[in-house]
């Protein structure tokens, strides 16, 4: 019945690639910005957060997709949250077991993955309507897009704010770190700069296309 209401997506490269560029959860949809701003002060934190979120995203999307015929519509959000919270707990314990230092650096933001709108959004908008294999590929793409966005912020902030990348020093010891970049305002500055760049790229693409077809140039 739900198959009829929701046309099933065919598996194409686009199923995966959408999450990276066209529907990038951070740079296009602006979802899950809390960890994006909070834990990207170093590349390693960004990478760990991205991978943890991707794990939760993929696993919970798969489970939601598997159970999509059994979850009653009225309690679906609560059910999704229970599913997501299960995987967040697994990640929470796993990171504690792997590196207590990383666990301390990421702080409450590991538990807060449960409230990440990227994951709930995927469950509601995609996994609950689509088949298992497309859900897997789509959520992998979204997770990769989220991780890439975190890395984009994390590397810039670590290079400017600390002069290092993954803890390896890049410049001479005389390098002046831009301390603001590893402070909270730095997260806003770098996110704003990336958004500016991507919006500008998208608009200039639209403008070029309009020039080619002779249609009026209006990016919005």
């Amino acid at each position: 019945m739900s198959e009829l209401l929701n046309p099933q997506e065919k598996l194409t490269p686009d199923t995966f690639l959408r999450g990276l560029w066209e529907e990038n959860p951070v740079f296009v949809m602006l979802l899950g910005l809390c960890p994006v701003l909070a834990v990207t002060s170093t590349t390693l934190n960004a990478l760990a957060m991205g991978l943890a979120t991707t794990f939760v995203l993929v696993c919970s999307s798969l489970l939601v997709s598997l159970l999509r015929h059994w979850i009653p519509k009225q309690v679906r959000i609560a059910s999704y949250i229970v599913i997501i919270a299960t995987f967040v707990t697994i990640v929470d314990y796993a990171i504690q077991a792997i590196s207590l230092e990383l666990y301390a650096a990421l702080g409450a933001f590991i538990q807060l993955i449960v409230a990440n709108c990227v994951i709930l959004g995927r469950a509601e908008a995609y996994a609950s309507k689509q088949r298992l294999h497309t859900t897997l590929v789509n959520s992998l793409g979204m997770g990769a897009g989220f991780t890439l966005a975190l890395l984009a912020l994390g590397t810039v902030r670590e290079i400017l704010g600390n002069g290092t990348i993954l803890g390896v020093s890049l410049f001479s010891p005389d390098f002046q770190p831009w301390i603001v970049m590893i402070l909270p305002p730095g997260g806003f500055f770098v996110l704003g700069a990336w958004l500016l760049l991507f919006n500008w790229l998208r608009e200039s693409k639209v403008r070029r296309a309009a020039k080619f077809t002779g249609a009026p140039a209006d990016a919005r």
Binding site: D174, F175, Q176, W178, I179
Partner: protein
Amino acid sequence: MSRGIEIRTSPHLKRVVTVDKIMRTVVLALLPIAAFAVWQFGLSALLLLLTTTGVAILTEAFFARVSGRGNTVSDWSVVITGLLLGLTLPPGFPLWMAAVAAFVGVALGKALFGGLGYNVMNPALVGRAFVQAAFPVAITTWTPAFAPGRFTEIIPSTLTPPFMQPIPVDDWVAGLNLDGWSGATPLAIQKFQHIETPLMDTFSGMIAGSAGETSAILILICGLWLAWQRMLDWRIPVSVMAGAVLVALPFWLLDPNIYPSPWFVLCSGGLMLGAWFMASDMVASPVTASGVILYGLFIGALTVVIRLFGGLVEGIMYAILLANALGPLISSWTQPRVYGSK
């Protein structure tokens, strides 16, 4: 236009004051302060002012070109931003950091909001707040005023290569053989050692500090001239100073050994420059007459509260930025009653 009957809405009588005329007058009022800064701190201050003004102009020209707003450099507002920014920085501030401050101030504080008239905050202070957060050590490294040979040699930290840490100035300062130089401004000495610099020194400007904030009397004269020319709202600087005195006075009466005197509060640090030239920014301040008084009192009071109880030595910058952010709210609170309405 045809010479028939012309139908127009009010106002019918206008003063012929254009934006660029106001801005040119403000630049003119800033020139004596800039000249004093160069006389006091020498070549380094000159290079600093030239760098901030030059980079500010280039940034404005770049964004005007990119956004297609036309030539916005010629309204002179960006020259004020550049000059003011230079005047608020320490004289030995590395030039590359000053360039960063000017770029961030104009780009982030002004251009991204839509240019002159749309900026929420004073662009010069946005730039300074950025470098204060980015380079906290460099922006609190002070050099003595009236160093001998200041017109022939440059403070070593000024010419720091880009992206490098400032060259230490300790050896250079030691080579000057100055008596009683502790590397601190009167504000810091008052805050941490509770010793007040004599009023005559802070009033006339014979002290260390940011390039253009030292001479209270000179800023007062230039500001008064500007107010007399009606190029700034006198209510703003007066209420800033009143707010500062209102908060400082009770504490000073309570314990004059620890707390600064009201006249020291007025003449030290950036309060004068901030009150007359930055809080009075026409775009970023509230628009109503009672609103600007509230705004000024808030700035003055908050500045003294930060100075007395905050971790920072000087608070005028954050006080003005916060008050700028509150500006629209204050304006809407203090809307005058329209004649005839309830």
